[in-house]
Symmetry: D3
Subunit: 62 residues, 6 copies
């Protein structure tokens, strides 16, 4: 029952999400010997002002 949570900065198109979900599911099924129907993927799109690297927001205050 693999559960995969993917969190990205900004938005993805529905096509990008579809390809990512398909590709990630294939990788996990192939490498971990899990049936595809057991894989659950959830994608979170975060605003760049809600993500920080090195202590600085990707979209910092002016």
């Amino acid at each position: 029952m693999p559960y995969v949570n993917i969190r990205v900065a900004g938005t993805l198109t529905k096509e990008q999400k579809a390809k990512i979900a398909k590709g990630v599911t294939e990788v996990i099924c192939n490498e971990a010997n899990k049936p595809p129907e057991s894989v659950l993927v959830m994608i979170d799109e975060l605003a760049p002002e809600n993500i920080a690297k090195k202590g600085e927001l990707l979209d910092p205050p002016a």
Copy 2:
């Protein structure tokens, strides 16, 4: 200090959220012997295009 994160496809009404939070908290308190005030529940409502089963989005591209 149980922390419960519930992630669903689509939206729930406020009434549904209230009943789920109450019911889930009761189950955990009863079975795990935790005081209700220690239970923190957070609900995430995801768009169906952000969830995939079997490598396919619940709301796939046309």
Copy 3:
């Protein structure tokens, strides 16, 4: 496809986990109109020294 993550301090017996998983799944199915087979529950048992309330570990250094 509800996904539920329950994080508790300390350990639970297998019986407690079974009852919690059953009860939580029932609550979500009943209130959110989801089929039981779609509900995925994952339980994390954390050592009390890995949880803090009010800035203090549940199991603080001596």
Copy 4:
């Protein structure tokens, strides 16, 4: 590679997010001896109706 997820009720200003990201990153770098560029912070702002304490939503139904 510390990953930090901060989930709050309601919204924060961009200035608050910037200060929190900076402060949390500093604490972790100082105490855990990690380089700042390795710290990834993600902030989730949840509607009060999606959070419950004691089995009651912070923003309950009328």
Copy 5:
């Protein structure tokens, strides 16, 4: 800065983890146009008694 959390039932070999991390990173970089060095993957291996489908633990009490 994609962050990916993969949670599986049972354990994986180091070789399996390496292939999954590589493959998942490639999929996300290719489809979402992210540089590989920005992708952080964290794998959690859960005991089957800590995961439930349909309200039943994968490793239920006797």
Copy 6:
């Protein structure tokens, strides 16, 4: 009710965890105007073989 999840590679001493929990709680209380007793911190220590950057495990197979 801020919830903070900190995930690190390797282990921390109890003293390090205590300082991180205290410091992170202070930062969030000061910047977000939250009472300290509302802040819940959970720390996850992951084996380096369960974390990847750039598609490579921190502790790769030989």
